[in-house]
Amino acid sequence: MLTKEDKLKMYHYLVLTRTFEDWIFYICHNQDQKNPMVIGKGYLSTGQEAISVGASYAMQENDWMAPSHRDVGAHLLRGMSMKDLLLQYMGREGSPTKGRDGNVHLGKSELKSLAFISHMGAMTAPANGVAFAMKYKGEKNAVISFYGDGAAQQGIVHEALNYAAVQKLPVVFVINNNRWAISTPVSTQTSVENLADRAVGYGMPSSICEGNNVYEVYDHVASALDRARAGEGPSMVECKSMRMSGHGTYDMAKYVPEEEFEEWKKKDPIKWAERILKEEGLADDAYFEKVKADIKEQLNKDIAEAVKHEQVRPGPQELADVYAE
């Protein structure tokens, strides 16, 4: 059961994610393109933050995750700082990938996250590997494997789902069904309404949840993780949501019907959480304003810190670091 503290903390992370990503959006559109602060584009989870936050909040200390490209919330929750993420976006000294990779292409073994690669769905396979290693070592931990509605059509995801199921690996597959894959609606990706229906084909339980209700996401993923840790094998949680931005910060998503945005705006995960917190008497508007203001302040501090870092410079380590000792 989530305590008040838990619920407020999750709210905090929703706002943290939103605030951070709003700034990424802002700066991508308001920076000197010749000498940019953020290198490349931003890939944001705006409007679907509850999936990443709710799911990763359900993790225990020794659980691992394989984030996808809209999981800034999970990165933050598992211990990345905004500054880390800023440095990552800016490609500066101190960035988690040392400027060798950018934006959402990250992860860190110390924080028990796999490092995302672009090839959609690819991370479901190594996520199984972590789960297998846990099992091999007799540990009772589990892994969250994140992927999207588009990625779901990649062969590797099928292999990974089946592989996890038949070997009863402690994995929870969390599908971010945000209705779009770049410009392609989910109806062009597949003829099923619910991607969770695929679980049947692997003999795996599944559930569907309101992906914009962070507490509901938590509940679904928490039980699935419990099941995994108990040695009962993998399961699937499909989170229904909507990508409220373009695919990347460069994309104005003109192809999305205006009504679709309108409809989903009503289900905004931050507003939804606020409604619940108020209904349950756990917080009020003043509290929400304070959280937002504090985070904004923190972000400004972090930005000020981040820009002090130097741009990365090439050196002999570029060749040396290709291989481990």
Partner: protein, 325 residues
């Protein structure tokens, strides 16, 4: 009539005109329909052709290339797009196993062209920047071409579409809206297996292709200042390779640099350098110097990527070394 066209528009024009000329020609791939592709190359095409002749697909590269094989066997001329060249790795088997050997094994032609936006220089890291052409030149049954100007982009693409074999058309995505040159309005073919003389020179020859042609040109201009006259040969058709043309060009200057964006080690430059020393040993006044990217993943940060890629300095130093040999 000719007019100046961007590289991207030359490709678009080739696709459109070929689809209009022959209804068996059709284009498909992720987001290429209404959206016009992530680089806008197919923008608006869908409105100018027959139903189904331009089509967005699910996020499934292997299924996409498999479709191409089946449709080609059935008599169509499919032109699938791989959104970023790097993603061809998830469909490798359909290319190297199925496509490449089909005609040799059973005598059925596969008239298909895979458009592969390839290469780096855009600061988008290791999963969106690689040059994997040398994987495929090693596979008999495939053809591999790399246009470096708008004229060749159109002409080689037309040849590719009309060719009765699987052609891997490595578009240089960073050239799309940077490279612009004279392109005839009407349809024309640039034949495979023939080098293009970019410029003549007496002292040394730079064999190159794709993204590196502009660097070769810059180097030639610099060298001219030092009274070194460098010829540039655009290899452009890697398989079939214009062996005679390459050897003949080499004999003219007896000194050569082989320059490509792909990494040097085990790269296609090795094929050219080996060929030259095998076939024109007696004409070698100096060793052939290969210049390619260093042996690391493609880094994201502009500073690092610059150090990763071949540089003007490297070419000038190589030229210097050759001339002093």
């Amino acid at each position: 009539m000719t007019r100046e066209l961007f590289y991207a528009d030359a490709i678009r024009e080739a696709l459109l005109q070929e689809m209009q000329r022959d209804e068996n020609v059709y284009c498909f791939g992720e987001d290429i329909g209404d959206y016009g592709g992530v680089f806008g190359v197919t923008m608006g095409l869908i409105k100018e052709v027959r139903p189904m002749q331009v089509r967005s697909t699910p996020l499934s590269e292997a299924a996409i290339l498999g479709e191409a094989v089946g449709a080609a066997i059935y008599g169509l001329r499919p032109v699938p797009e791989i959104q970023f060249g790097d993603f061809i790795s998830v469909a490798m088997s359909q290319v190297v196993d199925l496509m490449a050997s089909y005609h040799y094994r059973v005598g059925t032609a596969l008239p298909l062209t895979i458009r592969i936006p390839s290469g780096g220089m855009l600061h988008i890291g290791n999963f969106h920047s690689n040059c994997w052409e040398n994987w495929f030149t090693h596979v008999p049954g495939l053809k591999v071409v790399v246009p470096s100007c708008a004229y060749d982009a159109k002409g080689l693409l037309v040849s590719a579409i009309r060719d009765n074999n699987p052609v891997l058309f490595f578009e240089q995505k960073r050239m799309y809206r940077v490279i612009k040159d004279e392109v005839p309005e009407e349809l024309y073919e640039v034949p495979f297996g023939q080098v293009r003389d970019v410029c003549d020179g007496d002292d040394l020859t730079i064999f190159s292709y794709g993204n590196m042609i502009p660097l070769a040109e810059e180097a030639a201009r610099e060298l001219e200042k030092k009274k070194i006259s460098a010829a540039i040969v655009d290899v452009r058709s890697l398989l079939p390779l214009d062996k005679d043309g390459i050897i003949e060009r080499f004999r003219r200057t007896k000194r050569a640099i082989v320059l490509h964006e792909a990494r040097t080690f085990s790269g296609f430059g090795g094929e050219i350098a080996s060929l030259l020393q095998e076939e024109a040993f007696d004409d070698m006044a100096a060793p052939i110097i290969r210049i390619g990217s260093i042996h690391t993943p493609v880094p994201m940060s502009p500073n690092l990527e610059k150090a990763y890629l071949p540089s003007l300095n490297q070419v000038l130093e190589a030229a210097d070394k050759l001339m002093r040999y």
